[in-house]
């Protein structure tokens, strides 16, 4: 595979988005203070509909902190955050819960599947909090990540890669405005990492908006563009 060409194509797409798509995520002066530590310092980013953005930076640079705020799990100390046109930086916790289930799909490094629920039920759980659990629809999503044969397995009966695919299916099932993934391949071997990368790539091609935190430059290269963080600030 010629990465050079891939990169160019992605760059071309990127310029495309900036002209045509509406912004899904817009932050202005986003700051997060943990005591005296500024985990995020005056961060302005914009992610447009259909974009695949990689967030990179050294350990402790504030990637997870940023993603937590973007996913409405945390609130900024200062600055504004608009998600899908709505200012969510001033919302109350119950309001943010609504935003989480309506707009956000989360993919975790540790998968966070519920151990006593089957793969299918783990997907249905997201539907349950969103609206109502629908086994057929959940099954379709599992099929789309290649796991229909594993639907009735418990997480402990699945490989790491399979668990991560269940996690991705769970993130997809409610058709979120954006998928936010924090080092989704951090716990996987190379082979499974590749599978997950391909899956994310495919989702991107399907037109999903994705923000991905990664340490892996190869994965970063697959994204339309990369946001770099250093000491909580945008780098370059």
């Amino acid at each position: 595979m010629d990465k050079r060409i891939d990169f160019d194509t992605a760059a071309m797409f990127a310029s495309d988005y900036s002209r045509t798509s509406k912004p899904v995520i817009e932050t202005d002066g986003l700051t997060k203070q943990f005591g005296t530590v500024a985990a995020l310092d005056d961060v302005d980013i914009c992610i447009r509909e259909g974009e695949f953005v990689a967030i990179m930076g050294p350990s402790g640079s504030g990637k997870t902190t940023l993603l937590n705020i973007l996913s409405c799990l945390d609130t900024p100390s200062a600055g504004t955050y608009r998600l899908d046109g709505l200012d969510v930086s001033t919302l109350t916790e119950p309001e943010r819960a609504v935003i989480r289930r309506e707009k956000i799909g989360l993919v975790f490094q540790q998968f966070h599947l519920i151990p006593y629920l089957t793969a299918l039920e783990n997907v249905m759980l997201a539907q349950h909090y969103h609206s109502v659990a629908d086994a057929d629809e959940a099954m379709e999503i599992l099929q789309s990540v290649g796991l229909s044969a594993r639907a009735s397995h418990l997480p402990s009966q699945l490989s790491g890669g399979e668990q991560q695919r269940v996690c991705i299916a769970r993130a997809l099932v409610n058709e979120p405005a954006i998928i936010l993934a924090d080092e989704p391949t951090g716990n996987l071997d190379e082979e499974n990492e590749k599978l997950i990368i391909e899956l994310l790539q495919r989702l991107h091609e399907d037109g999903r908006t994705i923000a991905l935190v990664t340490h892996n430059p190869e994965m970063g290269a697959l994204a339309d563009r990369t946001i770099r963080l250093r000491h909580g600030k945008l780098d370059g």
Binding site: S71, A97, V98, E102, L106, F108, M124, H128, V132, A133
Partner: protein, 385 residues
Amino acid sequence: MAVNSKLRSAFLWRMLVKALTVRKGRAAIAVASIMVGAAVVFALTSLYLDISRKMSEELRAYGANFFVGPAASSPDRRFDLAAYRRIVASVPEEKLAGASPFLYGVVRLDLGNAVLAGVDFTGLKAISPYWQPEGGWITVDFDERNCIVGRGLADKMELTVGKTVTVFNRDKTFRTELRVKGIVETGEAADEQMFVNMSLAKKIFGTGGRIDLAMLSVVAEGTEADALAARINTQFPEVEAKPIRKISQSDGRILDKIEGFMALVAAIILVITTLCVNAILSAMVVERTPEIGLQKALGADDRAIVLQFLAETVLICLVGVALGLVVGFALAQVLGQTVFSAWVSLRPLVVPLTVGISLVAAIAAAVIPIRSAIGVVPARVLKGE
């Protein structure tokens, strides 16, 4: 919308059962705690509601507890038998264990004078359950050929069961022959008396329809007896009714003490149950912190989290209560047999009462764990590591 909520609760139910099955050990301990609490509440409440009845049954075994005599204004110190009948009829049937009128007078027997009492044998038997006549009771009303004789009198008059005794009234204008049906030993004045049917006594003494007094055995708790006496006294001015106090008052005091003690035991057990369930639920919440964090990240709001844990608590509680009712019923019987030598009957009221109290205890136990579940910060617990 209705279909949606049905589907929602179906999934919630499925999740809940799985969540509890995977923690069988903890869930079982919680169920057992509720079971013990519910059983004690059930048993003690059953006893409490049944105990007054049981106690007054015990009490009635010691005799009549209600006395009716003539009013002070009565010229012959007697009152009408008809008034007695009306008084008895005015006492609710379920409150009346038995009653007998008494008409006393002196008669001449072959060997000397004796006190003869006219009574209602059916009533006398009911208000004097400890009388065990040798030979047997007179069971037929209006039986005018038999009599019951007190032990002391029988010895003096050389009477034995089956013997015939000739009875004259004072001025020898009336004479009848009576067979001694039974001889009774009571340790009371009755030992020196003989008993015949009221109809015969009326003929012997020629008092018309007048009687000396009446004894009643009434199921009356606390102030009920006083209220009954007051009512009879106003309604029937020709008589003076009063409860016989000695036994019922001390009985009431013991009853109060036992009831207070039972309430205390039930309260202590309930507090222990609540603390125990609280500890188990708290441990469950701690164990499930990552799970709760994930649920919140998926958009579960506080209401959903509360609903989930409340549903689990209620499920645990209902299973515990179901077992508790069975155990409690058995416990009530053991206590009833030990303390009162009686079976405790199932009062329908006790079941909802036990379920209600257990639910309150379980939900109280869940308050702190549910608060800590709500307090879970997903951003913090999902970091993993």
